[in-house]
């Protein structure tokens, strides 16, 4: 394997790992606020790593710039979307789960 391949492999594996964390969090977390945590964060880092792999695999300048643009937009929009969702549910009066609650 060439160094490029190893780099792509490592980055892609990292991206998949964090996406997996987001998925596990989506299943395991007790309420929607905590689920939004795991999705908004792990998903973003997963995107960073995977898109870095894409940029390296392409190797051309234009595609790298586009991957970076993609990343910038995901950085801008993902947290805002998480905010929009949690704000809407707070507006609806959904109470956050706390450790005092018995049922998870």
């Amino acid at each position: 394997m060439t160094p490029t391949e190893i780099l792509v492999l490592v980055l892609a594996a990292g991206g998949v790992f964090f996406s997996l964390v987001a998925a596990v969090g989506l299943v395991r977390m007790p309420d929607l606020y905590t689920r939004a945590h795991s999705s908004s964060k792990s998903e973003t880092l997963g995107a960073v790593l995977a898109l870095a792999a894409v940029a390296i695999a392409f190797g051309t300048q234009l595609s790298t710039i586009k991957a970076v643009l993609l990343l910038v937009f995901m950085f801008l929009t993902n947290p805002t979307a998480a905010h929009a969702i949690t704000r809407a549910s707070a507006e609806q009066g959904i109470e956050p789960w706390t450790t005092e609650d018995d049922d998870p």
């Binding site: 892609a12 299943v27 999705s39 993609l70 969702i85 549910s89």
Partner: protein, 89 residues
């Protein structure tokens, strides 16, 4: 070789999106589903980018770009809409 790695990674991302489908089906509340669709949308952007690299077609990055921008619209639209079932929309 790189193609293979990227394709497997793309398959893994699609696989994790399946969890999102579980969350969409199970709920229990509507914001849960919106979070899930947001995760699925981000995953789709990444999968399209990975596919673009794997099949060597930079044009597909434009599609990923469109999705990255419209996924946001989808999330804010549904979340805003679900506040009052259209009272605010």
């Amino acid at each position: 070789m790189i193609d293979q790695i990227l394709l497997v990674a793309a398959a893994a991302f699609v696989g994790t999106s399946l969890v999102g489908v579980y969350r969409i089906a199970a709920g229990p509340t509507m914001p849960d589903r919106v979070i899930a669709i947001n995760v699925v949308g981000s995953n789709v952007v990444i999968v399209i980018a990975l596919l673009a690299a794997a099949i060597g077609e930079p044009g597909a990055l434009d599609i990923a770009l469109v999705y990255a921008l419209l996924n946001f619209l989808l999330s804010i639209a549904i979340s805003k809409f679900s506040v009052e079932r259209g009272g605010v929309l």
